[in-house]
């Protein structure tokens, strides 16, 4: 026995199914489509946009944001949200720079451990005290920033990355592209496998799709919740670490508004904030899209900082509105 559904469908239904599939594709890959359009505009309008260097710059700059958005995607698919990532990102950077004196392993391990524990605590509170993720991670945002300030003498001390393997990691390139970009690619592939092809991934979707149903179907709700917040914390810490390696120091003035940027990227990538649906491919497209827009604004060089903000905001709205309309079209097409 195989799939028997389609042959039985009448012609008209088959046709409507086909349009539905197309609309679905466009909608799922909406960010990618817009990214394509924006890239074409950039390529045509700005000479410098075409260079390999510029592409490399876009990728490297997008790396930390991509990692944060990766974790955020998991969290948002469960129907949660993580506002603490911006603070954890700074904290991770400071810790990595400080720990780099003990070698490259410590430089990665310390931020991962601390930010992971931060995520764990948030996950535990969300899962067991059943407080809204929004509020818990808002407190996490303050807590992590406070910890970062405490560690850095109220932000006054900037730890420099020790010359050594960790710093080399930040400087190193392969085929003209920084190592961090490869790391991000690898992690996204692992992320995709985890999300689409493991039981944990299934439980992430189930939890976001319907918490009650998931519980009754035997999904370990708390375990899943805790895991996604740990994951998000770890990735934010790692993003901080690779950024510290790149910058050569544990900069303390980073990260404000980073959480909103990450959320925007994830949402632009087509993930529903209500949970239950979303893709990592969309998230990558979302991250790159926001980065490319910035890049184009810089290429132009004449847009004042005030207008830059207007454009960014309008763009987010535009993409999301377009997506909503496509989703509606799809629902109509599928009846």
């Amino acid at each position: 026995m195989t799939l028997v559904a389609e042959p039985q469908l009448e012609k008209a239904e088959a046709a409507s199914l086909r349009t539905e599939r197309i609309v679905e594709l466009v909608q799922r890959q909406g960010a990618l489509a817009v990214l394509g359009i924006v890239l074409v505009v950039g390529l045509v309008a700005y000479d410098n946009f075409r260079s390999f260097d510029n592409a490399a710059t876009i990728l490297v700059s997008a790396a930390p944001a991509a990692l944060i958005a990766l974790g955020m995607t998991f969290v948002i698919i469960t129907g949660g949200i993580d506002l603490s990532v911006g603070s954890l990102y700074v904290l991770g950077g400071v810790l990595a720079a400080w720990a780099s004196q003990y070698g490259v392993a410590a430089a990665f391990a310390v931020p991962l451990a601390v930010c992971g524990v931060f995520g764990l605590v948030q996950g535990l509170v969300i899962a067991y005290a059943r407080l809204a993720p929004f509020i818990v991670t808002l407190a996490g945002l303050l807590g992590a920033r406070g910890l970062m300030l405490a560690l850095s003498n109220e932000g006054g001390t900037t730890y420099l990355v020790d010359p050594g393997a960790f710093k080399d990691f930040g400087k190193g390139e392969l085929l003209g592209v920084k190592y961090s970009v490869y790391l991000v690619v690898v992690l996204f592939v692992i992320g995709m496998i985890t999300l689409y092809r493991t039981r944990f991934g299934q439980s992430v979707y189930a939890l976001g799709g319907s918490e009650d149903a998931a519980r009754l179907m035997g999904v370990r709700i708390r375990g899943t919740q805790i895991k996604v917040y740990v994951l998000s914390g770890l990735l934010a810490g790692l993003a901080g670490a690779i950024n510290a390696a790149r910058l050569g120091s544990g900069v303390t003035v980073l990260g404000t508004g980073m959480e909103l940027d990450a959320i925007a990227a994830v949402v632009v990538g087509g993930t529903l904030l209500t949970g239950g649906a979303g893709t990592l491919g969309g998230t990558i497209a979302g991250v790159l899209l926001l980065q490319v827009i910035q890049n184009l604004i810089n290429q132009d060089g004449k847009i004042t900082s005030a207008w830059q903000t207007v454009i960014s905001g309008a763009f987010i709205a535009l993409v999301v509105v377009a997506q909503t309309y496509l989703a509606r079209l799809r629902r109509v097409a599928s009846g």
Partner: protein, 321 residues
């Protein structure tokens, strides 16, 4: 958000459990006041209380609107930018007098509210996304309007709003108090308020029950934005300058915290106005306590994090579990 599951309720502490969410924020507030009476110099001086009242005003006003939005199961991240926009509009028409300038600032709020509400109600965007876009773009517009620069305000009448008092209580505090009463009345006693809660509890059901859902939603976002604009105007009158790049920065987080700490659940269907005001006071007093005792910024932020968690934990709804 969810119903049911696990554990049973016991009876001995049942009353406490029932009352704590309702009055937890007031208990916390009282505890903090006691702490301050003992440890903070001059805490009970009228001047000090006046300062606390004046400083909390913008958060209270913004939080009132936020509470309404949260009551519809929404959220409004754009309030800070709306404050900035309101502030940026003030100097433009102050030359024609105080009233036109204020009216214009409020109209700015109305416009943003219409856009927010439109995106949520008609386009069907999730509130957090719609208002996130507006958070970014709104401040940009404020900066464009103000030409990127802040302006000092010299209009005596206008500055009087921020500095003068009636019966010893500053005008701004009166404004906040009146707004709180009005919002409380709207929630409890008006058709609009009932409808808002029904939408927050079950939007589909409200729709089928003939509630003009879209109109109510647009109304709610408009009120939130206008209140934010009012807060912006008050802030300008208090500081004496309109700085679009600074005013209202991160106030959305303070406002949401105040609302949630005050016992309004993020899941909608319920609005607690007095709790919201108390929540705002709690957070204000917390900051004041830490500044007055010259705590380091790092410590202050960590303490604040813990207190938010504890407060929200006590205020959380405990039904059915």
């Amino acid at each position: 958000m969810t119903t049911a599951v696990s554990s049973s309720s016991s009876f001995n502490s049942a009353t406490v459990r029932r009352l704590l969410p309702l009055y937890g924020v007031y208990v916390a507030l009282a505890a903090l006041v006691l702490f301050n009476i003992v440890y903070t110099d001059n805490f009970l001086a009228w001047n000090n209380l006046r300062i606390q009242l004046v400083q909390v005003t913008p958060v209270v006003i913004v939080a009132l609107g936020m509470a309404l939005v949260i009551g519809t199961e929404g959220i409004d991240l754009s309030v800070g930018s709306v404050m900035a926009l309101g502030a940026a509009l003030i100097p433009l028409y102050l030359g024609y007098g105080m009233v036109p300038a204020i009216v214009l600032a409020l109209v700015g709020g109305v416009v943003v509210g219409l856009i927010n509400g439109g995106l949520v109600a008609f386009v069907g965007l999730q509130p957090i996304v719609a208002t996130l876009a507006m958070l970014v773009a709104g401040r940009g517009v404020a900066l464009v309007v103000s030409n990127g620069k802040y302006k000092d305000i010299r209009d005596k009448d206008f500055l009087a709003i921020g500095t003068d008092a009636f019966l010893g209580v500053p005008y701004t505090v009166w404004i906040a108090a009146v707004l709180a009463v009005v919002v409380g009345f709207v929630v409890r006693r008006t058709v609009f308020g009932r409808r808002l809660l029904a939408i927050g509890d079950n939007r589909a059901a409200a729709q089928l029950a003939g509630v003009p859902v879209k109109r109510v939603l647009v109304g709610v976002y408009m009120i939130a934005a206008v209140l934010a604009a009012v807060a912006g105007v008050i802030q300008v009158s208090r500081i004496g300058s309109a700085d679009a790049s600074r005013i209202g920065l991160l106030i959305e987080l303070s406002a949401i915290t105040a609302v949630v700490v005050g016992g309004t659940p993020l899941t909608g269907g319920k609005v607690r106005v007095l709790g919201t005001v108390a929540g705002a006071f709690l957070m204000q007093l917390l900051t004041a306590t830490m500044i007055a005792n010259n705590l380091k910024d790092s410590t202050a932020q960590m303490v604040q994090a813990v207190i938010i968690l504890v407060a929200v934990y006590t205020a959380r709804e405990r039904r059915t579990r």
